[in-house]
Each structure stands twice: as structure tokens, then as C-alpha cells.
Point group: C2
Chain length 408, copies 2
């Protein structure tokens, strides 16, 4: 039997990958599992656009152009205008989800062995795309104590080497929910300009900025307009993760041209998804406002509950639908597993992402978890009940074991 | 301005890439262009499944599982049974088109620097995926004189080195339309077994085998069942190229597991496309028979027309919807360009793929073209009129220029 490749053995796995079969077993045993580990929201996709899709004449389901339907790209030009971003259709390439845009960014802007600076904790799948592209992620640590705020310019500059080609951030951030301000981005632009780097900003959570903060797109950093590459997706915005429609936006023509080469290889992004994505852009204001309000409520709920838990460090995240928390435990991974194998509260438990997998620096995040508040407030409250009871029980157990082992 | 990557500069372009802007210019000038250069059929997608898709309740357009909807994978198990292929759901991974399956095959089965044996001329985009994966394609030449038949085992064995990890063929073949028989595949299995290689067969044209030949799937090569990886797609079968639903099939569990790692990175194949793909499998016998008959008629038309043209070498292809032809000219690329820039017949011209880009060996295919018979017989006939008139005119022009230059 021929052997699979060496490289495939080392594809980085998701932070909660090992827990999936354990969660399945728990469910088979009749346990209710609240999934706060994944970014799949329970929010309803807008209905009118789906109705419009049902009415769309579909005679031959052709390839779309490799860079997407022209009409959708035009509609996106108008969409970005909402954020005072002035674009031309030529700046926009439609991709198969934001995921493909990330890979295309790495392939077009970096060569094997090149380095990208990221802020840890970061979206763990960046590891996987970097693995395919053969590039290295160099992490600047951010800290829960200040809500994972943008690190100092000096800390970032410190990581820049001759191999550094880009800085990649997520704004608002997954997994921390942190929103970066215009000021912070402008500061970043200085290094980017000085060192002639690409600044790739994954803005898929753009619509979810709370506390009255206005989202500031990297596309408005006019001093570095040819350095900026923005990753986008309709997945989270409209709760339409399954249609696989993303976007790569850049004013750097050479990048667009090179992205086009990779795009033509895979022929076309999904056409059905693009039809829907175009309809989703119509008349979406009320929907987006409602969804944002809902996430804001959930955010408040999660934060309020965490704050009340003993010895838990938490902060109020500024955006997206994630937050990190530090628990009074040595191994979040062990705790997350125990939640599924040994714990239930009224027949239910909660699945969380252990924090370690979101860090590149070994040893960090071991006591942390990521919470994705993708469930309605009733379920979310019940899930937080589970977490609260579990934490107290787990800590007591550990203390008992520790005392016992000392006594023996 | 930061520079794009070195690697992106050398992404292999499609054989007709350079002609696209020229064709656009011709159309802008009012010329009718018959596109026989691309694999986008004019066949109507089955209507009933589209109606079913319109009726499908869609509340939250969620990610599908990374390896596809379970119900669709089950339906595929039944589909393969039609070809006497016995599979388990676990053998099937749904991909974003056949394209993604090709990339996943290369990533999971080969390391950078490893080699794949292909039969040239071959599907040109294999070059691009090999470029991303950092693997090398080593071509064994096949010849128009025998309809691009499978080369001898000795010729293939001759290309096997210590770096060779796989043989990749397309059956029925794109760009040649050649159908490989059970006997030919069984012979290939011998080398595959002896050298412990992967045999990857791209069977996306499986349904289009003519002259009463029964398609033989590599999945029926029981002596090498763990060496075989099959690439599949609904694109051509149901004229549904835009839905981006492909499949990777293998009984090699380790390959499936590694494919799963890459699949989870990009989260999900397109969900809407998968709904439709599942419906497409229902009650498709009449549709597939009708479409096959249509392609058979087109094939016969193209062959008959080519045969009547002066000094054109052609053969009757056994499958798919492509054929190659050798023209009495020195540069098919020049001819294909001239067709768009300097020629029209009653206001129309034809766009073809120059053959050279389908070969890896420099110098081969220069006089050859690929014809994709993706237009209805009326248009196809009109396109062949263009080709016939153009060829005679082009050859006369060239002769005149040659005489003139000799005289001067």
C-alpha cells in the first residue's frame, strides 16, 4: 500500500479536533451538548433573498467567471461604499469562501519560507493554509489582561525579519472578539509602509462591532493602499456559511492579476452561492441591525456570566461573536474533555475550544478557552449554567485529588 | 509597493489564455465567435432537480460537514454501484469541484519534489495544481496516429524513478477523448502494484463513453484497491459546472483521513450545490442517455467534417466531448490567433485551444488543436465551416508569403 505524503501528517488540526469524537459519544449516550466551540451561528439566513433565489431562472448552471459574476462584484463595490471604501470592480475577486481568499493571499504574496506576522491568539486555520503555502507564521502575543489589544509597534517591529512579507490580522478578531481602531490600524500602517510589507486584514466579522464603535476597514488606509489585501465573506454576515462565497479585495493590481491565475485553475467560485450573495446585499440594513443586536445581547450575557464565576478572567469583547476566558485550571484541554466525558448538569453539557491551539508560542493559552456565542440567549444561558457548575465541580475534584496525592 | 511572490509569476496558464482578450476584441467588433475552446457545455441542466432545489426548505445555510452531506455521500454509494463499484460512505469525500479533489490528491499523496506520471497531451490545469503542490509531472507521450491510445507498459515504466509516487490519467480523456479499456487499466495496475504507486484516475467524463463501450472504473481494479484514487464531479455529467461539487473516492483509509485534514481547513464544500447534486442523482437515466446521444452526434459531426478537410489528421474519439486534430500548419497558436484577428466567414469565426499547452514535452503539439464539442450541432456545423474555410485561406496565405519571401 503506498504511503500518504509526509506533509499531510503534519497538517495542523483544529483546536477542538480531538474533542469531536468524544462529543459524538456523549450525544450518543443521550447527553445534550451545547456547541460553543464552532463558528456556525444559529441565526436564520435572510428569507427574502432565499425566495429570490428560488425564483431565479436557472437553465444551464454554468461556471461563473473565475473572479466571480460581474454583477455581484459591482454590487460589492456599492457594499464597501457603506464603509467609505471606494473601489472599482477590478479590485474585487470572488472566492470560494474566505478560506480560499486566505490561501490565495498566501500563494500570491509569499514564497515558501517567507514569514507572516500574526497576533496570537489567532484563527487557527491560518496555520493550515500557511502549511499548504509553505510559509511561516510568527506570532506577537496579545494578552487577556487588556482584552487582547493591539500590541505595541515595537513588539511587532521586533518580529520583522528579512523574510517577513506580510502582517495578517483579523478585525474584529476571531478568537478574541477584539476590535482594532482606526488609530491602531494607522499605527500598523507605519510599519507596513516602512518595511514595504503586505497588510492582510481578515474582515469577515466587519458587521459585528459593538459599543457604538464604527468599523474601520484597512481599505481606508490610503497611505498604504497598494499594500492592503482584505479577506471577506458573506458566511457570518448573513449566516450563510454553507454557500461558500468569499472575497479578496485589493487595490494592488499585480496581486489581483496573480490571484486571477490561481482562480482560473479552479475555474469558478460557486455560482448558486453567488446568486444568493448578490440578493443578500439588497435591503439588508434591518437584518444586519437585528443580528448585531442579537449578538450584542449574547455578548453581554456571556460576559456577565463569566464575570460572576470564581477566579475567571474575562473582558467584554468589542466585536465578532467570540470571546476568550481564562479559567482557574491548569489544562483547559483536560477540562473541555472532562466536560464531555464526566460531567452533566441536568443532562446537558457544553463544548468549548481549548485556548492553546490558537497560540503559536508553546505553553500559552493552556488555561484559556474560546467561547463562540452562536446560540440563542436561552441556550447560551443554559450552556453558561453548565460551565459554571462544571468549573466549580472540576476545581473541587482537582483539589481533592491534589490533597489526596499529597496525603499518600 | 510590495512585490507579489516569485511562485505566482510562474503559475502555468491555460492553453488558450492569451487568446481570451483577443476573442473579446473580436466580439466587440461584432464578430460572432463560436467557442470550441472551453469545457462549458450548452446542454440544459436537468429541470426537475432544479425544481426540487427551489422547494427545499432553507432556514440556515449552514456549513456542510467537511467531507460533504452524509445523505449525498450515501446517494453516491448507490451511483457507483451502477458501475459495479462497491463502496462504503467512508470512501467518499465531497470536494469543491473536481479541481479541489485534484489538489487534495496531490497534497495527500505526494511531497514536494515527488513525481507523477501523466500521459500527454493531458488536462492542462494539472500543471497548475502540481505547481501549488510543488510536485513534478513527467509525461509519457501518446500519439494522434493511434487515437492517443494508452502507451506501452515499457514506455510508462521507463519514466518511473525513485521520486515517482503516482500515475494520473483522465478516463475518458480530456483533451483527446480517448477511452481506456479494462485491459489497458489492468496493464497499468501491474506497474502500479509492482512499484507501489498511487493510481489517480480523473473520471469526470465517465458517462460519455461511445461506440457501445462500457466504462471501466479504476475502482474496479481489485488487485490495487488501496492504490486507487478517483476524481469525480457532477459538472460535465449534468451540465452543472457552476455548482462546484466534486468527489474524491478511495478505499485507502489513510488517504481519506489526510484528505479530511485539508477538507476541514476550508470548512465545507458548497451546500447548495450538494443539495442539487443529490437531486440530480435521482431518476437521471433518461437525461444521461439523451445527453450522451447528443454528444455522440456532435462527435460524429466533428469527425466527419475534420476528415473531409485537406491534410487534417483526425480520429474518432471514444469518449468525453473533446478531440484533437493535427492541422497542416506550423503553429496552431498563430492560426488560433489569426482566426480571431484576421478571419471571419459570414461574420463568424471559431475559437480553439492550441495543442501545445496540453503537452509537457517542448515542441510537441504545435500543429495540433483541441476541439470541445460543447455546442449544438447547428452551431457546431457553422463553427466547422469557419474552420474549414479558415484553414484553406490561412494555408494559402502562408504559401503566398513563403513564395514571396523566396522570390525576394
Amino acid at each position: 500500500m503506498p504511503k500518504t505524503s509526509q506533509r499531510s501528517q503534519s497538517v495542523p488540526l483544529s483546536p477542538f479536533r480531538k474533542l469531536i469524537p468524544i462529543a459524538e459519544q456523549a450525544k450518543e449516550k443521550g447527553k445534550k451538548v451545547y456547541h460553543l466551540n464552532i463558528g456556525q451561528p444559529d441565526i436564520i439566513t435572510p428569507k427574502k433573498p432565499i425566495e429570490k433565489l428560488r425564483q431565479t431562472p436557472l437553465k444551464i448552471l454554468e461556471y461563473s467567471p473565475a473572479d466571480g459574476h460581474e454583477s455581484y462584484r459591482k454590487a460589492l463595490v456599492d457594499y464597501y461604499q457603506r464603509f467609505d471604501v471606494k473601489l472599482d470592480v477590478a479590485n474585487i475577486s470572488v472566492t470560494t469562501g474566505g478560506s480560499e481568499a486566505i490561501l490565495f493571499f498566501m500563494l500570491t504574496c509569499l514564497d515558501p519560507g517567507d514569514e507572516i506576522i500574526v497576533l496570537e491568539p489567532f484563527y487557527a486555520n491560518y496555520n493550515g493554509f500557511a502549511h499548504i503555502a509553505g510559509v511561516h507564521l510568527k506570532a506577537v502575543t496579545t494578552y487577556i489582561e487588556d482584552g487582547f489589544a493591539m500590541p505595541s509597534l515595537a513588539a511587532i517591529a521586533d518580529k520583522v525579519t528579512a523574510k517577513t512579507k506580510a502582517i495578517l490580522i483579523t478585525n474584529p478578531n476571531n478568537p478574541t472578539g477584539t476590535c482594532y481602531s482606526k488609530k491602531e490600524l494607522a499605527a500598523l500602517a507605519e510599519i507596513v509602509k516602512e518595511r514595504d510589507l503586505f497588510l492582510c486584514v481578515d474582515e469577515v466579522y466587519r458587521e459585528f462591532c459593538f459599543d457604538g464603535n464604527t468599523f474601520f476597514s484597512a481599505l481606508n488606509l490610503t497611505s498604504i493602499s497598494e499594500n492592503v489585501v482584505v479577506i471577506d465573506s458573506v458566511s457570518k454576515r448573513y449566516s450563510a456559511c454553507g454557500i461558500r462565497v468569499g472575497t479578496m479585495v485589493t487595490r494592488n493590481r499585480e496581486v489581483t492579476e496573480m490571484v486571477g491565475r490561481y482562480a482560473r485553475l479552479r475555474l469558478s467560485p460557486p455560482a448558486l452561492g453567488q446568486f444568493l450573495a448578490e440578493y443578500l446585499l439588497d435591503d439588508d440594513t434591518l437584518y444586519l441591525e437585528t443580528v448585531k443586536k442579537e449578538y450584542d445581547n449574547r455578548r453581554q450575557l456571556v460576559y456577565d456570566r463569566l464575570k460572576k464565576m470564581n477566579d475567571v478572567d474575562a473582558y467584554l469583547p468589542g466585536g465578532a461573536f467570540y470571546c476568550f476566558a481564562r479559567l482557574p485550571i491548569a489544562s483547559a484541554e483536560d477540562f473541555c474533555r472532562w466536560l464531555l466525558t464526566d460531567f452533566d448538569y441536568e443532562g446537558a453539557t457544553v463544548m468549548l475550544s481549548p485556548g492553546e491551539g490558537f497560540y503559536a508560542t508553546p505553553g500559552l493559552g493552556k488555561s484559556e478557552i474560546r467561547i463562540a456565542y452562536v446560540l440563542n440567549t436561552t441556550d447560551l444561558d443554559a450552556a453558561m449554567d453548565c460551565l459554571e457548575v462544571a468549573l466549580s465541580e472540576y476545581v473541587k475534584n482537582k483539589e481533592a485529588i491534589s490533597l489526596l496525592s499529597k496525603a499518600l
